[in-house]
């Protein structure tokens, strides 16, 4: 009884704060239902009638189904790669307490400090040499390099919450280390993995600059963000389509996030039981 009352007490002000917090998104929703003239006249007002045509138009203009698939492919391949690479490396570097290991760790984490603009032109050149431009696979592989530093850093820290004795149990002589890692240790890292997946998937789904540079030639491999961006120009912004396009692009991401939220709890319960 006490719990639910306190829960309610706190919930009310939090919902108010949350509503104000997402007001900009509400504006995007409202404006996606207006005509161009209505938007130009008054951004804050409610639409007089629902211009659902904006969505169907944006859907067609953006070639939504095709690009949805592309964006999904890049996101899934990219995220899986990052999780795989960074969990293994993060774990190993955290457990190995040598100076060499600390050096490799810093090497892996240093990219977080490097501003993207400073090397992006050369990166395109490198990508072209490796035949990674203008393909979704190429883009995913490049995302591995860009996403691993932060994710590795996160795994490195969280591994500390896994008791060391479990390592010895898992890595018995004769038992293959990789299998041991993925069957015993990795499941215990579930909370971090969920965070890593959420963070990387969101970022790759919504990223814009890298796909622009790598895919700028290949129409059929474009991502949703690039298509939505085409509604914004210096001299003409097709607001009604842009807002609709934006909603079409971020809705899958929001649904994905909401779906995963429940998993965080599930994973945590499982982890607690194991510990």
């Amino acid at each position: 009884m006490k719990r639910s009352r306190a829960g309610l007490f706190l919930a009310v002000p939090m919902f108010v704060i949350a509503a104000v917090y997402v007001y900009p998104l509400i504006l995007v929703v409202i404006n996606s239902l207006k005509t161009f003239a209505e938007i130009m006249a008054n951004v804050v007002a409610l639409p007089t009638h629902l211009s659902l045509g904006n969505f169907s138009n944006a859907f067609v203009l953006m070639k939504y189904p095709n690009l949805f698939f592309n964006t999904l492919l890049v996101t899934v391949l990219g995220t899986s790669g990052v999780v795989l690479l960074s969990s293994m490396a993060g774990y190993k570097l955290s457990r190995t307490k040598t100076r060499y290991s600390w050096f490799v760790f810093l090497l892996c984490v240093a990219p977080i400090m490097i501003p993207f603009q400073s090397f992006m032109i050369v990166l395109v050149k490198v990508a072209k040499t490796l035949h990674l431009t203008n393909t979704t696979y190429g883009l995913s592989v490049i995302y591995w390099g860009l996403g691993v530093p932060l994710s590795l850093f996160m795994y490195h820290g969280f591994v500390k919450t896994v008791p060391k004795d479990l390592d010895d149990c898992a890595f018995i002589d004769g038992c293959r280390p990789l299998r041991a890692f993925f069957q015993v240790i990795f499941p215990l890292l579930k909370p971090v993995t969920v965070s890593v997946v959420v963070i990387n998937a969101m970022w790759m789904w919504n990223d814009f600059l890298l796909p622009l540079l790598i895919l700028s030639g290949a129409k059929k491999y474009m991502t949703l963000q690039l298509a939505a961006y085409n509604f914004f120009g210096q001299y003409k912004v097709e607001w009604h389509f842009a807002m609709a396009g934006v909603l079409l692009t971020i809705t899958p991401a929001i649904i994905f996030y909401l779906a995963l939220q429940k998993h965080i709890i599930k994973g945590m319960v499982a982890g607690a039981v194991k510990a």
Partner: protein, 411 residues
Amino acid sequence: MKKTFLMLVLLVCVTALAMGQAVTLKLFFYSPELIDQYNDMAKQYLAETGVTLDMTVLQNDYVTVLRAKLNSGDIPDVFMSSAYADNDTYKDYAYDLTNEDFMKKLEPTALTGVTVNGKVTGYPFLVQSHSFIYNKKIFAEAGITALPRTIKEYEAVCQKLQAKGIQPFATGFKEWWVLPQTAWQVLAPIKDSYSGDYAKFVDRLNSGSLKFANIKEMSNVFDVLDLIKKYGGPKPLESDFNDQCSLLATGKAAMIHQGNWAEDSIRKTTPNIDIGFLLGPTGNAADKAGIMFDSNQTIRVAKDGKNLKAALAWLKWLTTSEYGKKWIPDKIKQLSPIMGAKASTAELAQATVALLAKKTPSYSWYYQRFPNGTEQGLGIILQGYCAGQTNRQQTLDALDADYTKIVNASK
């Protein structure tokens, strides 16, 4: 049976070969506001010649991506840039069009921006004009009959408008590029001090023998900027291109400084609006007030492009075919560089033609001659002045410092 089978195989091979021969031209453009017109032209070209135009159209990141592409060897067959200073920027990549026969079909005035030492390295795409655009109905309602030409006359007009509760200007000051185009128009008559030759003026700036701080006409520039800010509403530095177009279109502002390219956006909000060009003030001499008229948006052919011949064939078609000649006036609704092209029906394009016919002073976009790399820097410094961050002397010194820095960096 065997014979038919072999014939079939042969047929398939030949078709495959023929399909493999189908050319695709890679075009890398900006101005996404024209994407419908680009697509329409591509469709027509495909129907007439069987050549596919693979177009990528960007805006904000155009230069970044173009540079990444050129550097990595992913060279588009055709790309776009500004004229004047950009001739030098892209000198390693642009094909020399001087001897192409279709170039003779273009207006000589349109070619000034792309000609360096007799060599033509670009194809002028659009001819454009910019000055103050005004809402004719608002002016009429406010009882303004004589169109202003001097700073004093503009101030009088502003006061009349304000008395009627109308915001005189939508400044556009949030966009760094609106400031140079507004400011340099005020300075345009400077060529009179250099025998009418802007090249001489810019040379003196480049050599350092002339500084902005020593140009007394700069005070007119500041006066105009001050005027626009004073009568630019409560938040003059937050007004961007959208703000300018929408306020003008809905009658909330009477004047904006923009170009004929803005007509499309304005008309989208208010389709039957009546707009025209005002002559930009240059000081107190009414006869010097004019419009800025030039061809700056330039198409360039990559000299290392894989489909050079096809690219040139396309440009020839654009210049000489029936569709090509009508494309800019009818579809894009702007002014065409092709000799004898018909006039566009767009109101501002027609206004430009009418003003030129009346021998109104029309100045070239001489500021595009400033060294490549100064446009944004100078614009931002002027923006700082409008925001009250620097006074006139500090602004002039900053302009000189930035200009010198860029000139030195390219030596």
